[in-house]
Symmetry: C4
Subunit: 268 residues, 4 copies
């Protein structure tokens, strides 16, 4: 086996001991680099250990750069990798540090490396999690129209309520402008409720109460939509195919094809 | 084809390229006019560009007015349009600007134009979204009795808890009056929690803890109601019974019984 | 028909026009009396109209007292009424005002009259709402064990988290005592989040983040329990009784009794 | 019956009157000891009754110690008990007080005694609650992959949003460091919303609005997952098929097919 093939197995796959070890080390370094950026942003720590952290950051970045170049070198179709989701993330993971030589502060963008942690699924039993993720995605996707209608309604409500509050409370009670009032309406409707802006006039508090109760009821709608889709998605359909008409969406308890009436295989 | 008919097609329909283009332009202008009102309410921007924004507002209002008049002119039954939902919204969209000549500040009501954005559904594949909206509406409507009972319970709880807190905490801890305390109870029960009013005595905090836990449990009820209705509404089964084996849980698209393979009645 | 029987029909029933009118008037007076208590608690209004509100309060209380005495007088079994749910509420509705002659401030308890509004269901189509209420109640009742286990878990979590935060943050950051810290834990776990107490040390914020995410996930549990019960409860069972073995919990689509195999009546 | 056997019955079982009485007394003492720790942490109470509380604490601790030693003495396999869940909790319940002789403040850890309250299930009809608890646990366990994928997504989102807010708002608006900003992101996403840190720049408020709406939608996902699992787990149907008509949606308690009246197989 050529060196290139061996490297490919180590870097891209997780079936061999060496490949698995590489992925585990990679994950640890990714985690370390995220913790690094966080520590660097804490004033006290930065003043004391700034120098060390800076050096470590460059060490990791150079390691990632080499890894990126190796990946391009050993893969059979480099451009497919470069333009793939993982390829773009791998590039974005090293860019911020180099960019910080030009633009001050941009190196915080390094936290985009968090997305690289997705590789964790390669070490775990991959397919089950991918399956779970896809099922969730499918459930959300098949309810996209209801969710769109729902958000359209929420956006409209938030704009109108925000403007009304601006007219009722006005800049003297913290509702400085219509956008700020819409921000308040979102904070309230989603039940976050910072309290940085809150109505002070009785009329404003009455409208706010109304908004809260509506928001409380409204949260039931997306929950209902998503739950309904997840339940539908988890219903037991199986993978058997009708031998007569090739239809393949049969319920688990089906004995005959619902499309052509043909008998399904019994050994399923 | 007469000019009137042509105009009708452009303004009211979205099937021809001209009609679609008109709708897209209209949506953009509606969006622009909403952004306009928002910007005008921001003090800094208003001081600098107030003049320009004011002129733009009138330009758009006059455009909408002409559009409104054209709509009345080209439609076959003007009164049906004028009194329809869209007709009233179209009128309300232009009134605030004219009204602002008489009543100061009323032009902010222009944000009602946001509702005009509903026209977006005409450009998208209309029917699927209408269907989604109707299904949601139906789910909410068929659970109206449960929701009514639920809100009756919540309103009673909020009134009684609010009064108790007024007696326990009193005006010296921010619970200035019973309505203000009810406002607090709503803010708490819906888990918004601004923190502008919050209990300070141990007894008050104990009652508040109780209210929060009840509120936490209570949110499960409307969610359960709506989810249950959405699931019931989204079931794809119909009421036909297999004439051969009496099985009756057939999918909507079933032609043959999945249990015995018999042909289902075709007149369903 | 005797006067007593006529009065009974007017006061207790809502089928005759007079009975219906009486109930509507009663509801309006109840609402008025609740609004009255609220207005009285607002300092500004009380100073100006205190005298008038005070007189109105006594007028309504005397009206309710007469109504209560009449109810006892016309009903066939007075003690059954007096000790019934409605009888106790009717008494509690008049007591606070009389009590206020002795104990200052106690008249605010008048808001208990809000519960009298339950009579609204007598005017509306009674049975459907009672049905809806009972279904909700049944759903909650049949999940009582799961809910009990769940709350036991939450209470334990809140006590332990509260104590940990007291040890971590201490009185100098607002966590004055363990009960106060438990109050904070409840405020946080239920996602109310007033912000009157909030962690300031990094360790405290880390634990708080953990509590929030757990609380966020935990809300899914009661929702799931209640939704599951509501769905189960709304399944279409009907009221037909098996003529052979008297079993009465048949699904809507049942043709034969699932207990004895006997044919069910076909005219259902 | 030997003394040891008698003691075993009283201490470990709850079937005899003496055993039940012992468990009830034990629960009351556990509750008392938890209240004790709480009261001790309240400054005012501690100053006045500190001495008494301190003595009571030692009395209860010695009682628990004796109980613990007795349990070891009377049980047949002491090590099995000592290493069991309950054995460890029983030990942890007495340790903090002894520890407080060495480490100041550690006696607050006594609240771990709250877990001992689990014994309450022994007095109540044990099995039904255990069943309820196990069903909940099973529902959560069987959705572990979806929940893992979900939290992975949330953690990533929170890290990236936190960093962006740190860059947008910066230390001068309270976003002191990236960890602090991530803390803010968690507070916001879970809709807790303390308001101790809140965005002040328009860009920050825009991003915050986006995060809130996403968080609002996202809560639907775990709810949907858990609800779906609880519903699946609580279904009362089994897998038996009617040998006469092949209908297969029978309730667990069905003896005859509800469709054709045929006898179901008895060996299910």
């Amino acid at each position: 086996m050529s060196l290139r093939k061996k490297l490919y197995e180590i870097i891209f796959e997780a079936d061999t001991p060496a490949g698995k070890a590489f992925d585990v080390v990679l994950l640890l370094i990714i985690l370390a680099s995220i913790v690094l950026v966080m520590l660097e942003s804490v004033v006290g720590i930065n003043q004391q250990y700034g120098e060390t952290l800076h050096i470590l950051e460059w060490v990791i970045t150079i390691f990632f750069s080499i890894e990126y170049i190796l990946r391009i070198a050993v893969v059979r179709k480099p451009w497919t990798y470069i333009l793939s989701f993982y390829g773009i993330i791998d590039l974005l993971a090293v860019l911020p540090t180099y960019l910080s030589l030009i633009v001050v502060g941009s190196h915080s963008l390094m936290v985009i490396r968090a997305i690289r942690l997705l590789r964790v699924f390669r070490i775990l039993k991959l397919s089950r999690f991918t399956q779970a993720g896809q099922n969730l995605g499918k459930a959300l996707w098949s309810s996209r129209e209801k969710i769109f209608v729902f958000f359209f309604f929420v956006v409209n409500l938030v704009i109108i309520v925000g403007t009304l509050m601006y007219l009722i409370e006005g800049p003297e009670h913290g509702f400085k402008s219509i956008p700020a009032s819409i921000y308040w309406a979102i904070v309230t409707m989603t039940t976050v409720g910072y309290g940085d802006i809150s109505p002070e006039t009785p009329t404003g508090q009455l409208l706010a109460s109304f908004v809260m109760i509506v928001g409380y009821a409204i949260i039931a709608v997306p929950t209902g939509i998503v739950t309904s889709e997840i339940i539908r998605g988890s219903r037991d359909t199986n993978t058997q195919v009708c031998p007569h008409c090739l239809y393949d969406q049969h319920d688990n308890d089906a004995l005959y094809c619902k499309k052509c009436g043909g008998r399904l295989n019994e050994d399923n």
